[in-house]
C-alpha cells in the first residue's frame, strides 16, 4: 500500500508502537535439588529495525492462570514454606544491530539442609515478547 494512503493519527504526541511480537516455548528438563545456579537457554532472532523497548511475559506450564510480566520477568515458585525456590529469570536485549536475544536462566535454590522438595519436574515456559518503538535516528 502506498504511503500516501496511510493516515497519521494524532501527530502531536509520541507513543509506543509494536514493531514485532515474539512467542517462544522453552522446555526446561527436570533436575534434582542441588542445581543452585542453573543452566541458561537462549532464543536468538533478527529484527528488521533497531528496536528500542520491550515488555515481556512468561507463563509456567503448571500454572496456566498466571504470568510473570514486566521489563524483565521472573517466574518463581516457592516450595517448603518458602525455603526452596525455583526461579526462571527471563531477560532480553540486543546483541548487535540486527540480532536480539531472549535468555532464560534457571535457578533452583534451597535454604535449609533437609528440604522436602528434592526433585524439580520438567516444565515448559512460554515467553511472549513485544518489541516497541523503533530507535531514534542517529
Amino acid at each position: 500500500m502506498s504511503k500516501l494512503n496511510r493516515f497519521i493519527i494524532n501527530s502531536d504526541y509520541d507513543s509506543l508502537k509494536i514493531v514485532d511480537q515474539i512467542s517462544w516455548t522453552v522446555s526446561v528438563p527436570s533436575a534434582t535439588l542441588g542445581q543452585e545456579d542453573g543452566p541458561t537457554y537462549d532464543y536468538n532472532f533478527t529484527v528488521p529495525n533497531d528496536v528500542y523497548f520491550d515488555v515481556l511475559s512468561v507463563k509456567h506450564s503448571n500454572y496456566p492462570n498466571s504470568v510473570a510480566t514486566g521489563t524483565t520477568a521472573t517466574f518463581s515458585v516457592l516450595y517448603d514454606s518458602g525455603n526452596t525456590i525455583a526461579q526462571y529469570e527471563v531477560t532480553c536485549g540486543k546483541t548487535s544491530a540486527t540480532n536480539y536475544r531472549i535468555r532464560v536462566k534457571v535457578n533452583r535454590i534451597w535454604g535449609q539442609s533437609s528440604p522436602a522438595t528434592t526433585t524439580f519436574g520438567a516444565v515448559n515456559l512460554t515467553i511472549k515478547l513485544n518489541l516497541l518503538v523503533p530507535s531514534e535516528q542517529q
Partner: protein
C-alpha cells in the same frame, strides 16, 4: 461493547501511553562507582524506561540491569525524581563509557499540560504499526495489592515503584522511582503457593506481592501500566 480488547489497538476506551520525554546521555566515568545527575526539566516525575549500551549506536543494548548480566553494558541503577534523572554507574576499574537512552511517561495522576517533543524520530503514529492500549494507574502503597482489570485475558504490564538509595559516599539521598526490576512471578492465585516481590496477572486481577526485602517506612506509590497485550 468491546468483547475482546485485543481487537482494538486504538480506541478511546484504552488511551495510549504517551511518550513525554526523550533523551540520550553519555556516561564517562572517572571513578569506579560514580553518580550522574541530569535535569529533565519536567513539571512532574517521569516514569522512565531505559536502554543502556557500551556503544553510541546502541548496536548491542539492553535494560540497564539485565544488560549488565548479559555483558551488554556496565551495571548501573537509574532512577528519576521530580527534577533529575540519576544514574549510578558501577564501572569499576575498567571505567568504560556507557550510553543510555531514556523515554518517560507522565504519571497518570498528573493533571497539568504535557508539552510535545520534537518529531525527529520515528515515534509518531502511523498505520504501519499496531499500538497497545494502556490502563494506567497509581496506588498509594508499595505493599502487596490487587487490581481488577477485567480484560478477560492475562495482560502484560509494568510497574514503577518508589525506591530510596542512600549514597553516603556522594553525600546524597535519592528518593525516586524506577521500574521494578524484580517484576514477574506469576503466582497461582488459588493454590496457596506464595511468592516474593512479584507481579502476577490473571484474566481478572493483577496481583503484586511484596517480597521480604527491607520494609520501608512511609507512604509509597506504585504506578502501573496494564497493556492490552496478551501475556
Amino acid at each position: 461493547m468491546v468483547q475482546d480488547a485485543r481487537r482494538f489497538q486504538y480506541t478511546s476506551d484504552y488511551p495510549q501511553p504517551l511518550v513525554t520525554y526523550r533523551n540520550q546521555f553519555t556516561l564517562a566515568p572517572t571513578q569506579d562507582v560514580q553518580l550522574f545527575k541530569f535535569e529533565h526539566g519536567l513539571p512532574y516525575m517521569p516514569l522512565i524506561l531505559v536502554k543502556a549500551s557500551l556503544t553510541s549506536d546502541f548496536a548491542a543494548s539492553g535494560d540497564p540491569w539485565t544488560g549488565a548480566n548479559l555483558g551488554i553494558n556496565d551495571a548501573m541503577e537509574v532512577m528519576a525524581d521530580n527534577k533529575y534523572i540519576y544514574v549510578i554507574l558501577f564501572a569499576n576499574e575498567n571505567r568504560r563509557t556507557n550510553y543510555i537512552r531514556v523515554i518517560g511517561f507522565a504519571p497518570p495522576d498528573y493533571d497539568g499540560a504535557i508539552a510535545t517533543i520534537p518529531n525527529d524520530s520515528n515515534f509518531r503514529f502511523n498505520s504501519d504499526y499496531n499500538y497497545a492500549g494502556c490502563i494506567a494507574g497509581v496506588l498509594n502503597t508499595g505493599d502487596s495489592y490487587e487490581i481488577e482489570h477485567n480484560l478477560g485475558y492475562i495482560p502484560q504490564c509494568r510497574c514503577w515503584q518508589h525506591d530510596e538509595i542512600t549514597l553516603s559516599d556522594f553525600g546524597i539521598d535519592i528518593s525516586g522511582y524506577r521500574v521494578k526490576q524484580a517484576s514477574g512471578i506469576g503466582i497461582p492465585i488459588n493454590t496457596g503457593v506464595e511468592t516474593q516481590n512479584n507481579i502476577s496477572t490473571a484474566s481478572k486481577y493483577i496481583i503484586y506481592k511484596r517480597g521480604n526485602e527491607d520494609i520501608r517506612v512511609g507512604a509509597y506509590k506504585t504506578y502501573y501500566h496494564i497493556y492490552t497485550l496478551e501475556g
